[in-house]
């Protein structure tokens, strides 16, 4: 069953990855799965058929391009970027991808409260398991190491004192991942999944 929220570009890229030969069965199957993108899928199939006719040379005449200079410059630039980049917190990272906490949590299949607590530093980052980091990084489309840096950088929000309060507000003790999952409102199956990474 297709995901109705899947973006057109993602669907078309998977179409290109999966399809070598355009046949009626292939088109029918993809349009059946993604009727909302039927026209785009047909158009993309036609573009695949057109591709070989842009050519004129043969494989024997192929001259590979040298990308050495480009690769060296890109690696240098990437290294400088890593050194200079300020790591956002989770909420800012989601905003950059035009996501909100609710949507991010829904895509991962986890309680919104967990994502919210991670974003405000209410869950100890070192207790967050690898399977969540992998899933979160994949959802954000970034490297796992970058996502870990984002989690580490998610701090409690500054709290303001309530009227007539005699003591400044405190954040309370941050919980471990296990504590947060067990206390959440998720079903037992989902809790088991997020506690063990299996299921």
């Amino acid at each position: 069953m297709s995901d109705p929220t899947e973006r057109l570009e993602d669907v078309l890229i998977r179409f290109h990855e999966a399809v070598d030969a355009v046949t009626p069965g292939v088109i029918d199957a993809w349009i059946s799965d993604y009727p909302q993108y039927a026209d785009a899928i047909r158009a993309e199939a036609l573009e695949i058929l057109k591709l070989p006719y842009h050519g004129g040379a043969t494989a024997a005449e192929y001259q590979p391009r040298d990308y050495t200079a480009k690769v060296q410059a890109a690696v240098r630039h990437a290294t400088e970027r890593v050194e200079k980049t300020e790591v956002p917190d989770l909420r800012a990272a989601l905003e950059r991808q035009e996501l909100d906490v609710r949507t991010f949590a829904a895509r991962l299949g986890i309680a919104r409260s967990i994502v919210s607590d991670i974003g405000t530093g209410q869950i100890v980052p070192s207790t967050i398991p690898g399977w969540f980091k992998r899933a979160g990084a994949e959802c954000l489309g970034c490297a796992i190491e970058w996502f870990e840096a984002i989690l580490e950088n998610s701090r409690p929000r500054a709290l303001t004192a309530a009227f007539k309060a005699s003591e400044p507000p405190t954040t309370g003790r941050a919980r471990t991942w296990d504590e947060a999952i067990r206390a959440s409102g998720m079903s037992e199956d989902r809790k088991a999944f997020w506690l063990t990474g299996r299921g």
Binding site: R14, F15, H16, P24, P52, R65, T79, E148
Partner: protein, 218 residues
């Protein structure tokens, strides 16, 4: 980064360094190479990362050229180079969702990007497909290929390349098993947004044209 992650980074580095030293990159899935490159890039292993990206660039260049019909290189208009160079930048940008996308789809993403480049170029240049016509100003059509040799297929390919684009597409779809029309599934008519009669007409004309050329060559 904690100690366990540091150790796994080191193992990752050792693994890929060994593969490079044994000249094993061609046997590795390019998606795995992209993933390794992005993880190594975040750890500042620039040299090894550069070797992996260089391999991916060469591989992508071959793949995209094959898709593009091995077009003669034209430095002022080279969508193949644009696609590969964009790929290089995206793979090395750890914040890029496109870069992460190459970990899931290598060939598919390259082809998608190539088609997008060609579409945008055609829009910019307002390119319209020329309509080759015969002496009676009628568009031309292809032949039947039940027992054809290599030379015959070369003739067919040449003829197809000379056809109006939509006629060629109609013929290609017909050869791929699409019917002229269908109430339930994909057809030539639905794919090209034409009537079934027009679809049949275009396929017939393409067939006749190819038969003519094959007749001339024999």
């Amino acid at each position: 980064m904690n100690a366990s992650i540091g150790a796994s980074q080191e193992r990752l580095r050792e693994k890929w360094k060994a593969i490079v030293d044994e000249n094993g990159l061609p046997g590795e899935d390019p998606r795995q190479i992209v993933a390794a490159c992005r993880q190594l890039s975040s750890n500042g292993d620039a040299r090894l990362c550069g070797v992996l990206v260089q391999h991916l660039a060469a591989r992508a260049d071959r793949i995209v050229h094959a898709m593009y019909g091995y077009r003669q290189r034209n430095d002022s208009d080279d969508p193949v180079a644009q696609v590969v160079e964009d790929m290089i930048d995206d793979i090395l940008d750890l914040q890029s969702a496109d870069g992460a996308g190459f970990e899931k789809s290598f060939k598919g993403k390259l082809r998608y990007r190539l088609i997008d480049k060609i579409r945008r170029r055609n829009v910019r240049q307002n390119i319209e497909q020329p309509v080759p016509c015969d002496a009676a100003n009628q568009p031309i059509e292809p032949p039947d290929g039940s027992s054809l040799g290599p030379e015959d297929h070369a003739v067919i390919a040449t003829v197809l390349g000379q056809l109006p684009e939509k006629h060629r597409l109609a013929y290609q779809l017909h050869e791929a098993g699409f019917t002229y029309s269908s109430k339930t599934g994909a057809s030539i008519a639905s794919m090209l947004k034409i009537t079934p009669k027009t679809a049949e007409d275009w396929v017939d004309r393409a067939t006749q044209r190819i038969m003519q050329e094959l007749g001339r060559q024999s």
